[in-house]
């Protein structure tokens, strides 16, 4: 069991700026953008191809220790890009950060972080299912919520629902 800090030690947690600096020092090329003044939550945008390396770094660095992947959401940014948003949390250090990675709609490929956080397994399948993002090296990349033979990726903004699914009319 990881040793959890007491409330009085919470001040030790890092804020988003420090996390960003730390990440930048490790991956100078990979960090694309950092928005500290974003409304409600600061986030870091990284290059999609280095997501797994960054994930490994974030999870294993003794000062960061992001061991808890709260959520992994696919997002259609509606500018020709779709992407993945990682909400990370450290059970030990009690700090959190939002990491984003954008890929083009035409070639939505990025590495899987399943090997770092097991919870990413189903989240990535869901993002694949609803957004069509292909996660490389994912152990079991199948549709999860929709039927296996469904056409299209419903949560993309340009999604057109299919006319018929196995002889049943879909739009009602």
């Amino acid at each position: 069991m990881p040793s959890l800090l007491k409330k009085s030690e919470w001040f030790k947690r890092m804020n988003a700026n420090e996390i960003n600096e730390k990440l930048k020092s490790g991956f100078p090329e990979a960090v694309v953008e950092f928005k500290a003044d974003a409304v409600t939550e600061p986030y870091i945008v990284v290059r999609p191809e280095s997501v797994r390396d960054i994930a490994k770094f974030l999870a294993s660095d003794p000062e960061l220790k992001f061991d808890y992947l709260m959520s992994l959401s696919g997002v259609d940014f509606n500018d020709g890009n779709i992407g993945v948003v990682y909400h990370l949390f450290s059970m030990e250090k009690r700090h959190r950060i939002v990491v984003k990675a954008k890929v083009s709609k035409e070639n939505p490929e990025m590495p899987s972080v399943e090997s770092v956080w097991k919870s990413a397994n189903w989240h990535e399948r869901e993002a694949f299912d609803l957004f069509g993002i292909v996660f490389k090296d994912h152990p079991d990349l199948r549709r999860i919520l929709l039927p296996d033979d469904w056409e299209g990726y419903p949560l993309r903004k340009d999604y057109k629902v299919q006319e018929y699914y196995r002889g049943m009319k879909v739009p009602y």
């Binding site: 409600t40 709260m70 419903p154």
Partner: protein, 372 residues
């Protein structure tokens, strides 16, 4: 002697099976009765809440949140309205938060009663199930009294509540607490410490703490592994910080830490803590209005927020992106049951089919929450 090799059998458990708690299908590879592998297949109840949400304005989404985890609608609404309010950057009246906490905790008890009762059913004890439902019925009566609905309430709105408390609600709730406390002991006598029940659930489905965290488990599933982690205490929201209560964790007192019995017992003990919170909230509830002055049409500034709250099943997160319009750009629900269910294969290998039933029950999934 040459080693005998027997053929493994693939067994479909569900989607219509008495103890998968809904339309979950688990593809089992069994060797005799020993589970070699278990692959959950989900999606039978998928309604694409997230797609719906993009077509609604912020208030209209609340009823959809109700329908995700239909056993804990109040908690779902609570998380969502907290998110919208954070996005709007408004402060709701204190009375609203008190009422929300009371409702959320009553809902937690109701939900845990279903979880505990059906768990007894999974193990083969029928009677505790009906005792639990009898008490849950009283909570539903309280909800009906205050908002007219018994299951899907649409009670918490961004900026406030649909109604104030009805007259007599506080007294009725106190009467319920007075009735309910002794029945927890009754439940423990009948089920929790029953020799057969302990034998069936102790040392079964052991989930070590580090695996639980790696799988991002939350709620009683995580606490059952001994991790003292409750968002109400550790990432405080609403007015939970004003109350005096304890986080319940698994102790491994009858078996291994993190087994089914621990997860079960965390739920039972949490009900007592919820009673404590409700009692304090009822005693100190301030007067005031239950609607913050917010415009009819909500237009948050462009931005995004991830709020999480502790539902009976664990961490429910809403990731809401606003583009400044009346409708959210994207709403992602991080459902606790979805994440918790994903660790089922990890903890069910090598146990018997009968144990698998116990394990599924102890993770306490609601398929409306898993499939959304």
């Amino acid at each position: 002697m040459a080693e005998l090799r027997t053929e493994e059998m693939v067994l479909n458990m569900g989607p219509q099976h008495p103890s998968t708690h809904g339309v979950l299908r688990v593809e089992l590879v069994v060797d005799g009765e020993v589970v070699v592998d278990a692959v959950p297949h989900i999606g039978y109840l998928h309604r694409c809440f997230e797609k719906h949400a993009e077509a609604m304005n912020y208030q209209q989404i609340v009823p959809y949140c109700d329908r995700m985890d239909y056993l804990a609608s109040m908690n779902n609404d609570h998380a969502y309205v907290l998110g919208v309010e954070k996005l709007l950057n408004i402060q709701v009246p204190e009375r609203v938060e008190y009422i929300r906490v009371i409702m959320a905790e009553l809902q937690r008890i109701a939900s845990h009663l279903v979880a505990v009762g059906t768990y007894g059913l999974d193990i083969g004890a029928f009677t505790p199930f009906l005792f639990c439902f009898r008490d849950r019925e009283m909570i539903l009566d309280l909800f009906e009294n205050v908002c007219g609905a018994r299951l899907l309430y649409n009670y918490m709105w961004p900026g406030g509540l649909s109604h104030d408390l009805t007259p007599g609600f506080i007294e009725k709730t106190k009467a319920f607490i007075k009735h309910f406390r002794p029945t927890i002991k009754e439940l423990n006598d009948l089920l929790s410490y029953n020799e057969i029940f302990v034998k069936r659930t102790a040392n079964v489905g052991v989930l070590p703490a580090d695996v639980a965290i790696n799988y991002a488990a939350s709620g009683p599933t995580l606490r059952g592994s001994g991790v003292k982690w409750d968002l109400r205490k550790d990432d405080p929201y609403s007015v939970y910080h004003k109350f005096d209560w304890d986080v319940v964790v698994g102790t491994g007192e009858v078996g291994t830490l993190g087994d089914c019995w621990d997860r079960y017992m965390v739920r039972v003990r949490e009900m007592e803590q919820s009673l404590r919170i409700i009692e304090q909230a009822l005693d100190t509830i301030p007067d005031g209005d239950v609607q913050a002055a917010i415009p009819k049409r909500i237009r948050p500034v462009a931005g995004e927020v991830y709020v999480r709250s502790e539902t009976p099943r664990g961490e429910l997160g809403y990731y809401i992106i606003s583009d400044g319009g009346q409708k959210p750009f994207r709403v992602k629900a991080r459902a606790p049951s979805f994440v918790n269910l994903s660790l089922l294969p990890e903890i069910s290998r090598g146990y018997l089919i009968a144990d698998l039933v116990a394990i599924i029950g102890s993770v306490d999934i609601v398929l409306g929450d898993v499939d959304r």
